[in-house]
């Protein structure tokens, strides 16, 4: 069969009088297709059916928009030029003391001379500031950033037409930060990238604002693949839980073709279990979780302080906006006046004496009023300067306090502020000698993170997929990471997210390939997973006695040195026992001795915490995770039978191990417990390998999608967001109304909070009276007028949605006036799409529907 090309496809459409506007041609070796748009007046259903009926067409899928993963929680986002006087290092760097490298054995591997030479890593992101001196200062052949392109242009938002260019300059900052994590060289003060000698490519898929879409991402991946990238990385994603989204499928194909692809698992840890992002969900794709840095780097301004004119001591402070403080000496004023009671300012009668010319010292994290109320108390006392303090200084978003009557906002650590307030309480006058920030460069001040450092970041999204594929694969440092930033935005920045952990893994794979030679992506994942270090669970405040669930950390924190020197190589990266309905009774894995002498392994296992997806109160909406308040985790878990439990493997030989799981009987299966743990292989060569396993101790087909008990799936109306009463009468806008005109009407709005994901989600219009004269079609056992426009939809993750409905059906026609109800239907996990019994359904109340006349719209408009 001849290959269809996008050109011949659009010619065929024209020959068949099918109107579609070409968007992006995707004529690549692993994906041949195209994207197109249909005009607003198009009968989309009929048009798509015609397109699907063409023999050359395999499938059609609506385009999705994807965003950069939003950081959540402990956000650190200070971009500052660093002082050039700070600790410039040589030879990229030996010894490597950058804490993320030390945490992961990158320092030791680099000490052996592995720096990523000869490896090409392609980044799919917002572009890179290739002028940055730490990133080579140029773009093109011979440069560190040697290949790639701009696929979209500055003005692309994800919804308009991309305007490609040859210039992948970064106007956002994200891609430049990612690039520095991989490959910044020793020109950067205080740090280098994981693999500073790699060659980078950049495929820019974002404009200066907004999102990107499937077709652009597929184009970027295919171009990177065809450019010969050894590794492709993207810190991009969207809440999913499914492995079949088009972008995820294409990434899986590239992995299958031999190129490792790392993708961020997402920053939705706060929403609990089963929220892995696409394309991290793809089969074989390396989904990366985040661990907090053991040191929190602060980009600070330096100043000095003294008590009663004692010897001046240097300190660092973080300036916010505004930070207009003149050079000079200022007395400090403790707003709590020596008290530890941070609620004192909450008292309505709380006032301050005149503090003009002084800097008010205020606890940041705990106060009763909003911050502006606190600021008002300072300005009422003629104060113009505020220095907040927080144990999380540097982990807090940039603050813009313009317009509050304060000339300068800043922040210091609680430790420093405590020294000041204790000195003041003892009767000392504490003064600071400030330097106007604009006249001084920033420097790095590292503080030890002894609360979450080295543990999984609580924002890091949890797997598994809805079909119990193990996600994430493993974790890397992503919380509080110093890296490069566009020169126009300051040059350096500390940022946080799985976006930062993901390029770290890409760089680590480069070192691994250099050290061990090229392997297929599956083997690379197997080695990295088995040599990773499973971490104890930490809820953002406290560390627990049990290991964090595999759903949060996969194999654990990467150890690149151990991976490079691994002797025992497993043939899997994890084991999924699936749910109880699809239970894998017996799993096997194989270990191969790649060393130079026989090794005897003792094989055991260690359970990690079992996480309940749902809360204990019967609510079908999964538990969320806020700092100090995680989903319930218990220690009851599956018992494993391992056979054999010890074995000796000769040089170059392999052996198989059988794993059988017995599920615990004391778990509440209705709460969807996700159990997990690690099979441990301790070798006589002092090697310790761990293989993560996971399963669900209930049937996911029983998982509830629509929370009908709490009435979370219902029909609302536009002008009053609440469930409508039975018999409500809608008057819809005329069918030719503009968007502006439509908004003047009180039209139907189907609303739902989906507790779980679904592969197929339908909203169908059904006559309220069975003998209605309206034409109907039976679909899944129900006579429907049609699906509302844009439905059915596929591969939906957890979360809420609503749709504004103006009467149009998915076939492009408009529902005739009459009495109806909406039927919401969601395919259960593992359900059969063609079986009505496998759908969960909710009926809305009945409503009547009519259309306003065009003259009415014209009059009201």
């Amino acid at each position: 069969m001849c290959y269809q090309t996008s050109h011949s496809f659009f010619s065929t459409l024209a020959d068949n009088y099918i109107s579609a506007t070409p968007l992006i041609n995707l004529d690549y070796s692993l994906f041949k297709g195209a994207s197109f748009s249909l005009g607003s007046g198009t009968d989309e259903k009929t048009t798509l059916q015609k397109i699907l009926s063409l023999p050359s067409v395999k499938s059609v899928h609506p385009l999705r928009a994807y965003s950069l993963p939003e950081t959540s929680g402990y956000i650190t986002s200070e971009y500052r030029p660093l002082s050039t006087s700070t600790n410039l290092k040589s030879l990229d760097t030996f010894p490597d003391t950058f804490s993320p490298h030390v945490m992961t054995g990158v320092d030791k591997l680099r000490a052996e001379g592995f720096l990523g030479d000869g490896i090409k890593i392609a980044i799919v992101d917002t572009g890179i500031d290739y002028n940055h001196p730490a990133l080579g200062g140029c773009f093109g052949d011979g440069c560190k950033i040697a290949f790639g392109t701009d696929l979209v242009g500055d003005k692309y938002t994800g919804e308009n037409t991309p305007v490609p260019s040859d210039d992948p300059m970064d106007c956002v900052g994200h891609g430049t930060h990612v690039a520095g994590i991989i490959a910044a060289d020793s020109t950067a003060p205080e740090f280098t990238g994981v693999a500073p000698n790699v060659t980078l490519g950049i495929y820019r898929v974002f404009g200066c604002i907004g999102s990107t879409s499937d077709d652009v991402l597929i184009q970027a991946y295919m171009m990177a693949y065809e450019a010969g990238a050894d590794i492709i990385t993207a810190s991009i994603g969207g809440n999913s839980g499914w492995s079949e989204e088009p972008w995820a499928v294409v990434v899986s194909r590239i992995v299958e073709a031999g190129v490792p692809c790392t993708v961020a698992v997402g920053n939705d840890g706060g929403t609990g279990v089963f929220v892995a992002s696409a394309a991290a969900t793809g089969n074989g794709v390396t989904a990366v979780a985040s661990v907090d840095n053991v040191l929190t780097p602060l980009l600070v301004k330096n100043a000095t302080w003294s008590a009663n004119n004692s010897t001046a001591q240097t300190f660092g402070w973080i300036p916010y906006t505004p930070a207009d403080i003149a050079n000079g000496t200022y007395l400090l004023y403790d707003i709590l006046n020596g008290s530890n009671d941070t609620s004192l300012p909450c008292n309505d009668n709380f006032t301050l004496p005149d503090i003009s010319g002084k800097i008010a010292i205020i606890p940041y994290d705990t106060y009763c009023t909003d911050g502006s109320g606190m600021v008002a108390k300072v300005t009422d006392a003629n104060g113009k300067y505020i220095m907040w303090y927080s144990a999380r200084a540097g982990q807090i978003s940039p603050i813009n306090g313009t317009g509050y009557g304060i000339d300068s906002f800043g922040m210091v650590t609680t430790d420093l502020a405590t020294q000041w307030t204790e000195a003041m309480a003892a009767g000392s006058q504490v003064s600071v000698n400030m330097i106007t920030p604009i006249y001084e460069s920033f420097s790095v001040q590292n503080t030890i993170n002894n609360v979450t450092g080295g543990y999984l970041s609580y924002f890091s999204s949890w797997g598994p997929t809805f079909e119990v594929d193990v996600k994430p694969q493993f974790a890397a440092p992503g919380g509080s990471i110093l890296s490069t930033y566009p020169l126009a935005l300051g040059g350096y920045m500390v940022d946080t997210g799985t976006s930062m952990a993901t390029p770290f893994v890409a760089g680590s794979i480069a070192l691994l390939i250099e050290a061990r030679g090229k392997s297929d992506p599956a083997t690379i994942n197997n080695i990295l997973s088995a040599s990773a270090d499973p971490k104890a669970f930490n809820d953002g405040e406290s560390t627990y006695s049990y290991l964090a669930p595999v759903a949060q950390q996969g194999g654990g924190l990467l150890n690149v040195y151990n991976a490079a020197h691994a002797v025992g190589v497993l043939n899997v990266s994890s084991i999924s026992f699936n749910d109880t309905a699809n239970f894998v009774k017996s799993a096997w894995f194989e270990i191969t001795n790649t060393g130079s002498e026989s090794v005897t392994y003792a094989i055991s296992y260690s359970s990690s915490g079992t996480v309940y997806t749902l809360p204990s109160d019967g609510n079908p909406v999964p538990s969320t995770f806020s700092v100090g308040s995680p989903p319930e985790i218990v220690t009851s878990s599956a018992q494993l039978s391992l056979s054999p439990d010890t074995l000796t493997i000769g040089v170059g030989e392999s052996a198989s191990i059988q794993v059988m799981a017995s599920l615990p009987t004391d778990l509440t299966t209705s709460r969807i417990p996700v159990y997990s743990g690690y099979i441990i292989l301790n070798g006589t060569n002092d090697e310790s390998l761990s293989l993560p396993y996971m399963g669900v101790a209930s049937s996911l087909k029983d998982a509830v999608v629509f929370d009908s008990v709490d009435g979370m799936t219902y029909l609302s109306r536009y002008l009053n967001v609440s469930a409508i009463p039975d018999g409500f009468a809608f008057t819809l806008p005329p069918q030719n109304s503009t968007e502006e005109e439509k908004e003047q009407y009180d039209f139907p709005v189907p609303v739902s909070l989906d507790s779980f994901g679904t592969r197929v989600l339908r909203v169908d219009l059904v006559p309220a009276i069975s003998n209605s004269m309206v034409n109907t079609t039976q679909v899944l056992g129900v006579d429907i007028v049609g699906s509302i426009v844009n439905f059915p939809v596929y591969e939906q993750g957890r979360g809420s949605w609503h749709a504004f409905w103006y009467g149009q059906l998915s076939d492009g026609t408009f529902a005739p006036p009459g009495d109806y109800y909406l039927l919401f239907r969601a395919l259960k996990i593992f359900g059969d799409e063609d079986s009505a019994d496998d759908y969960e359904s909710v009926k809305s109340v009945s409503f009547s529907l009519t259309y306003a006349s065009s003259s009415a719209t014209n009059a009201s408009a």
């Binding site: 968007l23 994906f31 041949k32 297709g33 994207s35 197109f36 748009s37 249909l38 607003s40 059916q49 397109i51 699907l52 067409v57 395999k58 499938s59 059609v60 899928h61 609506p62 385009l63 999705r64 928009a65 994807y66 959540s72 929680g73 402990y74 994800g158 597929i218 969207g238 809440n239 999913s240 088009p246 499928v249 899986s252 194909r253 299958e256 073709a257 939705d268 706060g270 929403t271 696409a278 994290d365 909003d370 502006s372 999380r392 603050i399 306090g401 609580y458 909406v621 700092v627 968007e739 079609t777 429907i784 439905f791 939809v793 993750g797 979360g799 809420s800 949605w801 609503h802 504004f804």
Partner: protein, 61 residues
């Protein structure tokens, strides 16, 4: 209030996932939203790599 406390930020994000509003012309914020009127087509024989057919075709009611 102009300050941002991270815990509060997380709660805001969580609340967004479960209560925020879908844009007027597109479906969904529970997943990456669909872009109205725009489609991806894949041609037959597009790959020599052995993968399960994964794309969901547009359904016929």
């Amino acid at each position: 209030m102009f300050s941002t406390i991270s815990g509060a930020k997380l709660l805001v994000l969580s609340a967004c996932l479960f209560s925020s509003v879908i844009r007027a012309t597109s479906f969904g914020n529970s997943s990456s939203p669909f872009i109205p009127g725009k489609y991806l087509v894949e041609f037959q024989d597009s790959t020599t790599v052995s993968l399960t057919e994964n794309f969901v075709s547009v359904q016929d009611n």
